[in-house]
Amino acid sequence: MLAYIIRRVLQSLLVLLVVGLVAFSMFRFVGDPIDNMLGQERTVADIERLRDQLGLDDPFVVQYWNFLEGAVQGNFGISYRQGRPVAEIIADRAPATLELAAVSGILALGFGIGLGIFTAIRRNGFSANLIMTLSLVGVSLPTFLIGILLIYIFSVELGWLPSFGRGETTQIGGWSTSFLTESGLKALILPAITLGLYQMTLIMRLVRSEMLEVLRQDYIRFARARGLREKSVNFRHALKNTLVPVITVTGLQLGSIIAFAIITETVFQWPGVGLLFINAIQFVDIPVMAAYLMLISVMFVGINLIVDLLYFAIDPRLRIDGRH
């Protein structure tokens, strides 16, 4: 089992190195940073000084190494556009995205698993069928459309909830949170639903089909034959077996919540890293783009790793003969 974990960690590192290479390559092949950073009235001396500062004249491998070294320390260079360290800019923006992603993730997981179980247990019931039909809408409508629809209904027509921004935030240490004010919480609702809806429907449909499969198994019949309560049969015996395959997909879905945040943040002008990334693309702000790419991949790889370890926690068969 230890060997397996070590191997998975090494694999993760390899993935990160490759993504790092892609991110770094952008520096060399996309646009000319000097053009972006200096205005029209630049002198040759200015250019030389900046090239030197940014290390643009070093050999490729040295530059890549410097980039990685910086990245590990959280140093992604200076934003071409804002002239501030990228790490600082991202640290400013991260709380907004993380809070949004966390709320969406919890919504998606909670409702996804809950409704999945419900629709599986009541598979012929009216409300279960209704939910299944509605969920088709959830999977087929694009995120931005859902966002715009929600804004139209709840902001424009009903005027209940704000259509953009984070509302009032409170500063705790270096973290700005919107959980503590009413306007902050209100501002979270629509973006969180928009961002989480797709994942929620996916998780729900997956949980449902896995659960239906599990409910057909002999050990469920046997549990019933021993007179266990439906509650215990469904939630102890069936759910546990349902979760094993659900975990992988769910983990990946949570990862993509952060990635998909780009669209939601754009629709709701949510001041997070996704919006930052979109703006960075407009201005070819390579350091910001590279840093974003790295962050997202660290997140994905990290979630994947956690998912693999969760398997061990849930499935005893892996724990014992999981030496591979």
Partner: protein, 325 residues
């Protein structure tokens, strides 16, 4: 054997509505099982053996359902009980042993927990007492070092050991009736006899009534007190094992056993019954067995079909074998 049977099934009918019409996988089946008695149930695949057992324990898969008849358990009628009331009796009054021990145990829950949850569901004991009972029931079914292995997961046991665990689970709340549906079919031949012997011993000791479904005539001969032969959802023959096996009255029973007085001169020989059991939707008029029966006559092809009783006390046949042989 006490006067009142533990289980009494009266004219049980199970029906399945299908697009092609109503099917009757169990058609007017009646039998009793007394305390400490083992009733063997045999018949070709699809004869309705499992369906009968599932009907008794109330675990018919929809759309199959009991449409008439009565099921009495310990003097109480149970076929009309609510799901809730029936659930309380499962495990406590009726235990069930399934065919495949590899799939009947929840792979993610330690066997001890599966035992204690069952015990605590039915008996008013504390967690510690339930655990003691669980260990004891594992010992009773012959799991070595039960106290140490109680927290093991099912995959840590061999197939035969798992079936012992399944038996422990079926018996842990001391039911008065056990339904064992082909309990050894999925097992290695070398352990089949042990499992059957174990089941027999435990039930004899406790006076448990057993409905033992099997394809193995040898098992029936060694284990059962009485045998019920099923064909196309009907009881073909029902009687004491020794009599039915040595002198079958129903041509189907005789064919099943591979020896038929019709074709033998003292030496029993292997005898394949020609043809196959008709589909439930396409049963012939009269006796369901008539297309395959070597003794069929005109009367057999006309309604009403033969039932146990009128022509023969133990076989559903107009022209039973015993009398003419």
């Amino acid at each position: 054997m006490s006067a009142e049977p533990v289980l009494s099934v009266r004219d049980l009918v199970v029906e399945i509505p299908t697009r092609g019409g109503l099917l009757r996988p169990v058609d007017r089946v009646s039998y009793d099982i007394g305390a400490g008695e083992i009733l063997g149930v045999v018949g070709e695949s699809g004869a309705g053996k499992s369906m009968t057992g599932n009907a008794v324990i109330g675990l018919l898969d929809r759309p199959a359902r009991i449409t008439s008849g009565e099921i009495w358990l310990n003097g109480e009628r149970i076929d009309q009980l609510s799901m809730r009331e029936l659930r309380k009796r499962r495990g406590k009054q009726i235990g069930m042993v399934f065919q495949d021990p590899l799939t009947s145990l929840n792979p993610l829950i330690p066997i001890g927990q599966q035992l204690t949850e069952t015990i605590r569901e039915h008996l008013p004991v504390t967690a510690a007492e339930a655990r003691q009972r669980a260990i004891r029931s594992l010992e009773e079914v012959g799991i070595p070092a039960a106290a140490e292995r109680i927290d093991s997961y099912p995959f840590e046991f061999s197939g035969g050991m798992r079936q012992r665990v399944v038996i422990a689970l079926a018996l842990c709340a001391e039911p008065s009736l056990v339904i064992a549906d082909e309990p050894t079919t999925a097992l290695d031949v070398s352990v089949q006899a042990q499992i059957i012997a174990l089941l027999k011993r435990l039930c004899r000791e406790r006076g448990t009534a057993v409905m033992l479904v099997t394809h193995d005539m040898g098992v029936i001969a060694e284990t059962a007190d009485r045998v019920a032969v099923m064909y196309a959802g009907r009881l073909a023959e029902l009687g004491p094992v020794r009599e039915v096996l040595t002198e079958p009255h129903h041509p189907y029973t005789s064919g099943l056993m591979g020896s038929t007085p019709l074709a033998s001169k003292g030496q029993p020989r292997l005898h394949q019954i020609p043809g196959s059991m008709p589909r439930l939707g396409a049963l012939p008029d009269g006796c369901a067995f008539n297309p395959r029966c070597p003794k069929a006559q005109d009367k057999c092809r006309q309604n009403p079909e033969p039932r146990i009783g009128p022509a023969d006390p133990r076989a559903a046949c107009w022209f039973p074998l015993g009398e003419t042989a």
